[in-house]
Each structure stands twice: as structure tokens, then as C-alpha cells.
């Protein structure tokens, strides 16, 4: 193998971490070497999954950052063929000025396409356009046997669906094809609506979400009582070309956060104050605010390493989805449990999901609501508390987003993902020696 370096790695939340041998292939033949020689391995893109999905402390972690070539782009069909290490940042930099946008983007542009596929990421348009996989026509997967397998909905479709959301445990995606969407301008025309509590927010979602391609709500995870779940809905549509618009790409400038913040800085008191200011800052209602895609989709990217704000102990992101039926009650229950607890929900985001990808066992989105929130790591009590929340989610027929998870229990994941048994069977077939493994895979007992 072309060398490896022992490093301590973690996900974006900086909890947990592990020591692993890191290799960095620059071409397919290097990658093949890693695949055939490593005792056990998992791929890693930009490490923006929050927990332990993208490192393997039992062996090797394979960086895809240099497998990042654009292979082909057809402006006629909008189909882009690129290697798995190409990032959302790179694609938008190159193709926005030419009038194209990605059909689905997560809340940061610093993700690789391989990582995005392995988590089947969703964006603010899930209720309209589904998750990333819906727009991926096919990909090539290097499997543990060393075969490079072409996967699409028609060919090797079982492997296609097991790899979508499959957290890198079925093979390493080398390149993929995705259909981009035409873009008239770099701007989104955004409507803002304040909702004084969760019920009002859900009501607004149901009343008018279909009018918007993009829809999301910032939610105050600390307010309680009559203000429980008060929100600011931010919903918009692509702005047509016209005055005040252009096809400008995002800026590459960012500020780096130094690693000096004590973990207690962000506590319930400071965040409660922030939330109140943030909520009030938004007018009750604002219409057609022209917003560049960068600040609309990637508001946090201007601060690189903002994860350091939570201190060295790191933080968790808790994201779950619950079906429409019973979803409202589950959301309220969760918000109430948090409001009563010592654990503050920071940067909470609420969204409505459209139909999920039924063929994919591990793809997270399901029709219903999803809530995501950051939680600074505190004490062991927090993990017990979150298990209580897991039970609420599970009882409502919901599930946790594994791409963000760092602590779910192995039995809980089996309740939440019904297709898991079939997925495990396929995993055993493509990877009989269980060489594709991560800290997450072992924690959730997806591999022995």
C-alpha cells in the first residue's frame, strides 16, 4: 500500500474519536491496493457526519479526498459524472456560473458526493424532490472482492439500494452520475414566517409548504409552555433571473474558529438568550427576500471549524424523523422532555419530509417531520436521557439519522429500520469477511 499514517479521527461532533491507520489513494489502482490489503477499512469523505460513521479504529480509514476528478459533464442533459471525492463546494464553484445546481444539498457544502450518497442526504427540498439518491442515476462500487460493480436501479439494484444510505459498509463508491438542475440565478426568494409555537409551525407547514421548493424552520429548543417549539419558517423558491440577481458562485472565504472554547460557554442560559434575540430579530412575516444560495443553504460554512465552539468534549447532533400520524404528539413530547431536562437543544431545525426511498433499507427520510438539534457533550446522564427520547421516537414509528448518530444502541436501530435484516443479508454476501467496518458499524452491531 502507498503508505498510511496513524491518526486520531472523529466525526464533525468530535465525539467519539478513535485511532486508525489512514491511507489516501490518488487513483483507482491505489484504492484497489487499500481494498485488497487492509485488514478492515471504511471510506471517509470530509468527515462531516457527526459521529463514528467515517472512521475505523479497528484498522484502516481510507480518505477519498484525492479521488476527486470530474469525469464528464453533459450540459444538454445536466448529467455530471464525477469521482466520489468531489465535493458539493467544488461542483457548485464550477457549475453555478454555467447555470446548474445540485438537485439536493445538505446544510454544508463541505461534503463529498460519496459521503452524501452513503448517508443519502436530504436538503430543504425533501418534501418536493426527495433525497440525493433520487437524482443519482448510477455509480460504480469497489467491493471487498475487488470487483468494480456498476450499480443502478436496473443493474445490481440490490447493491444500489444497499449502498444508498449504507454508510460505506457495502464497498467504496469510486464515481457516480447525478442529474443536475438548471439554475436561472444564484438567489432564492425567501419568505419568513414566525410561528409562536409548534402547532402554529406545523399548521403553516401543512397550509403552504407545497408552494415552496425549499422549506425549513429554525426552532427554539429551549422555550417552553405556550411558546414550546416557537419557530421561524424560512421557505423559498429559486429566484428567476432579473434585477439584483446573477449566477455568482459562493465565496471561498471563511473564518477559522480557534480551538480555545470551553465547553460550558454554550449553556442553557446563553442559548436561551440567543434564541430569544434570534426569534425576535425576524419579522412576523417577510416576503420574497432575495437571498444568495450560500447564506440560504450553508449559513454555517462561513465559520470553518465552528464545531470547536462546543469545546474539546465535543457535541452530539440528535436528529430523528417521525411519521405524520402521531408525529405532532411525538414532537411535543420530545420538546417537553428537553424543556424539562438540563440539556439544551441548540440550533434546532424542523422540517417536513416527503416520501422516502422505500427500496433503501438504511436511507433515513420517511414521510413526516424531522427535528435536528445540537447537544454539547456533558455527562453520562445525557446518554440515559437520550435513550428516553429514542423510545419516544421509536414508539411513534420514527427513527434516528445514523449519519449524525454517535450513541444509539444496537437494539434500537433494529426497531427503527425495518429493512435491516435484508440489508444485513446482502452485506454478508458482498462482504463475507466483514472487512468493511467502522466504529459505528460495530457499535450498532451491523458487523460482529
Amino acid at each position: 500500500m502507498t503508505g498510511s499514517i496513524e491518526r486520531q479521527l472523529s466525526g464533525w461532533g468530535r465525539y467519539p474519536s478513535g485511532t486508525t491507520e489512514v491511507c489516501r489513494p490518488e487513483r483507482l489502482s491505489d484504492l484497489r491496493e487499500c481494498m485488497s490489503e487492509a485488514t478492515s477499512l471504511v471510506a471517509r469523505g470530509l468527515g462531516r457526519s457527526y459521529g463514528d460513521a467515517a472512521f475505523n479504529s479497528a484498522g484502516f480509514t481510507v480518505l477519498t479526498e484525492r479521488l476527486n476528478r470530474f469525469v464528464a459533464f453533459d450540459a444538454e442533459s445536466g448529467i455530471l459524472d464525477c469521482e466520489a471525492g468531489v465535493t458539493v463546494d467544488e461542483i457548485l464553484s464550477v457549475l453555478v456560473p454555467r447555470g446548474f445546481f445540485l438537485p439536493v444539498v445538505p446544510g454544508t457544502k463541505y461534503v463529498t458526493m460519496g459521503g452524501a450518497l452513503a448517508c443519502d442526504v436530504h436538503g430543504k427540498n425533501h418534501h418536493k424532490d426527495g433525497s440525493l439518491s433520487r437524482h443519482v442515476t448510477d455509480f460504480r462500487l469497489l467491493t471487498p472482492s475487488g470487483d468494480l460493480v456498476f450499480c443502478s436501479r436496473e443493474e445490481n439494484s440490490d447493491l444500489f439500494w444497499a449502498t444508498v444510505g449504507g454508510l460505506g459498509l457495502t464497498g467504496i463508491v469510486t464515481d457516480l452520475r447525478i442529474k443536475l438542475i438548471p439554475l436561472e440565478s444564484s438567489y432564492v426568494s425567501v419568505d419568513y414566517d414566525r410561528a409562536e409555537n409548534i402547532d402554529k409551525a406545523l399548521e403553516l407547514f401543512h397550509e403552504s409548504d407545497e408552494k415552496y421548493k425549499y422549506s425549513v424552520a429554525w426552532l427554539d429548543g429551549i422555550a417552553s409552555g405556550r411558546s414550546l417549539g416557537r419557530s421561524v419558517l424560512m421557505r423559498g423558491n429559486p429566484a428567476a433571473a432579473g434585477p439584483g440577481t446573477d449566477l455568482s458562485r459562493h465565496s471561498s472565504r471563511s473564518f477559522s474558529v480557534p480551538d480555545v472554547f470551553p465547553g460550558f460557554l454554550l449553556n442553557r442560559v446563553s442559548v436561551r438568550a440567543f434564541n430569544t434575540v434570534y426569534y425576535r430579530k425576524h419579522p412576523r412575516k417577510a416576503r420574497e427576500v432575495l437571498t444568495h444560495y450560500e447564506s440560504f443553504f450553508f449559513p454555517l460554512d462561513r465559520l470553518s471549524n465552528w464545531n470547536r465552539l462546543y469545546g474539546k468534549k465535543g457535541f452530539l447532533q440528535y436528529q430523528f424523523a417521525v411519521p405524520y400520524e402521531g408525529g405532532r404528539e411525538a414532537l411535543i413530547k420530545v420538546l417537553e422532555l428537553f424543556a424539562k431536562s438540563r440539556y439544551g437543544m441548540f440550533l434546532a431545525v424542523l422540517k417536513r419530509f416527503g416520501p422516502g426511498e422505500a427500496a433503501s433499507a438504511l436511507s433515513f427520510p420517511m414521510p413526516g417531520y424531522t427535528l435536528a438539534a445540537d447537544l454539547p457533550c456533558r455527562d453520562a446522564g445525557m446518554f440515559d436521557f437520550l435513550r428516553q427520547i429514542d423510545r419516544v421516537v421509536s414508539a411513534a414509528g420514527g427513527r434516528i439519522y445514523l449519519g449524525k448518530d454517535a450513541r444509539l444502541a444496537a437494539d434500537a436501530v433494529r426497531e427503527m429500520y425495518e429493512g435491516l435484516d435484508a440489508w444485513l443479508e446482502l452485506k454478508a454476501r458482498v462482504d463475507p469477511d466483514r472487512r468493511l467496518t467502522s466504529d459505528l458499524a460495530r457499535r450498532l452491531e451491523l458487523v460482529p
Binding site: T2, G3, S4, I5, E26, R69, F70, S93, V94
Partner: protein, 259 residues
């Protein structure tokens, strides 16, 4: 990869830069930087499929034309054909060439195994001299253009740990120095690039992370050096000082240091 539109010396029209050994990360970044400045590219290397991938990538990212050409530094018999093919295809448009290929080899083995030593010398020195011999007349006739050679700080002083590679790179540095002096009157610029530790496939796993510089820094330094018609550059710049110090340690002391 550097972003599209980085503005060093803007090319006017469709001038072409030829990059030899185009599959390395340093070469990819260099190609991207020239493409960002508006140059078209001819990318050459021995792994045809990889060279094509790099070419397609550069073409899509930067909207320039990037063609690929088969080139093996060891196959010196083929270098005349290669040089004619490239200059024939680009006509007068070939603005410069970057010699980026090189092999580190296994220094320990090379100390006792001549086959290993020979390949190191053949790739880093003989191959470079051979291909440049066939390309130089084109630039001499044209009375313009630039020749960039990626040598190494290892060529600045013979060290016990890496002297075969060092001697080949040292030979290459001297060759470039002489060529610079010879071509001066023809208006052809020769730039010698001496990288220190760069974070590439060559050093990955052998050099502590954080000790090795970003390959894009080499690319930026190259285009700056071309624009400013520099003779010898070190990347990162600190290596000029480090090598000054290393070159000036008296041999009786140096040989005891075990470098």
C-alpha cells in the same frame, strides 16, 4: 484543486502548456493553475487512463482544452516522436513545458541494488535530459517560452539517506542551470523548482503530516516564477534557508550527522 479564475499571467488566446508526468498531485495543481490563467494544456504521462482522467477534470473545471499524450520517461527511444507529436499538434502555440515526473525509489535498496539505482537515475535525470533535448530546439527557434523543471532540495547536497535520488535531482538541477545560461540569449526562460517536503503520494506515510506543504503551493510558486522569470525557487520558501545552512556545513562535520 485551485479554483477557476485564479489570475496569474493571463494567457492571450490559446497558448498551450505541456506537462510531463501529469498524474502527480503537484502536476494536477500546476495544470489547474495554468488552466485558471487561460492556458490550454497538453498532459503527458505513462498511465494513459489516469492522464485522460486528469485532462477531463481540468477541461470541465476550467473550460479550457486539455489533451492527453502518452509519455514514458524511461522510453527515451520514443522521445523524439513524442516531441514532434506535441509540437506538431500545438504548432506555434506551445508556450512552455513543465517537467514534473520523478521517482523517489527505495533509497536503501538503491544503495546495494543497481537496477533500483538505475531506474531512479533514468527516470529523474536521463529521461528529463532526453525529452528536453528534443523539445529545446522548438523553443530556441521560437525565441520565447519557458521550461520548468521540478528538481528537489535533495539535489542540493548528497546525504547518506537518499543520495541516489539526490544525485539524479542534483544532476537535473545542474542541467537546468546550464540550459538556462545557454538559452538566455534566445529569450527562453528556464525555471528550476526545488520543493522541500510536499504532501503527495511520494511522501505520504513517510513524512509527518503537517511537515509537508500543500501541492497547490508548488503550483502557485511555479506560475509566479514563470511570470517573474525567476531562475531557482524553493517551495516552501524556508527551504532556501534550510538548504543554505545544510550546504554550508563542513563535510567533516556533515558526515557525522547521519543525514
Amino acid at each position: 484543486m485551485s479554483r477557476p479564475g485564479t489570475p496569474p499571467q493571463e494567457s492571450n488566446g490559446s497558448e498551450v502548456v505541456l506537462i510531463l508526468g501529469a498524474t502527480s498531485m503537484i502536476a494536477r495543481e500546476t495544470a489547474a493553475t495554468f488552466a485558471g490563467a487561460g492556458y490550454d494544456l497538453t498532459l503527458a504521462g505513462r498511465d494513459a487512463e489516469e492522464v485522460e482522467r486528469v485532462a477531463a477534470d481540468i477541461a470541465i473545471r476550467h473550460g479550457v482544452s486539455a489533451t492527453s499524450e502518452r509519455f514514458d520517461a524511461l522510453d527515451t527511444d520514443d522521445h523524439r516522436r513524442f516531441a514532434e507529436a506535441v509540437t506538431g499538434a500545438t504548432g506555434d502555440a506551445l508556450a512552455g513545458v513543465v517537467v514534473a515526473f520523478g521517482v523517489l525509489g527505495d533509497s536503501e535498496r538503491a544503495a546495494t541494488d543497481f537496477d533500483e539505482a538505475q531506474e531512479i537515475i533514468a527516470a529523474n535525470y536521463v529521461g528529463a535530459v532526453s525529452v528536453l533535448t528534443h523539445l529545446v530546439p522548438y523553443f530556441e527557434r521560437k525565441k520565447s517560452g519557458f521550461i520548468v523543471g521540478i528538481s528537489s532540495v535533495s539535489g542540493d547536497r548528497g546525504r547518506g539517506s537518499i543520495y541516489t535520488y539526490g544525485s539524479a535531482k542534483g544532476g537535473f538541477s545542474l542541467y537546468l542551470q546550464g540550459l538556462r545560461n545557454r538559452l538566455h540569449k534566445s529569450g527562453v526562460h528556464v525555471l528550476t523548482v526545488k520543493p522541500g517536503f510536499i504532501d503527495t503520494r511520494m511522501t505520504y506515510g513517510a513524512v509527518k503530516p503537517g511537515m509537508a506543504a500543500d501541492p497547490a503551493a508548488v503550483a502557485r510558486a511555479i506560475i509566479r516564477g514563470v511570470r517573474k522569470k525567476k531562475s531557482v525557487i524553493y517551495v516552501p520558501r524556508i527551504w532556501r534557508l534550510i538548504m543554505f545552512a545544510i550546504r554550508n556545513i563542513p563535510e567533516p562535520i556533515f558526515k557525522r550527522l547521519g543525514l
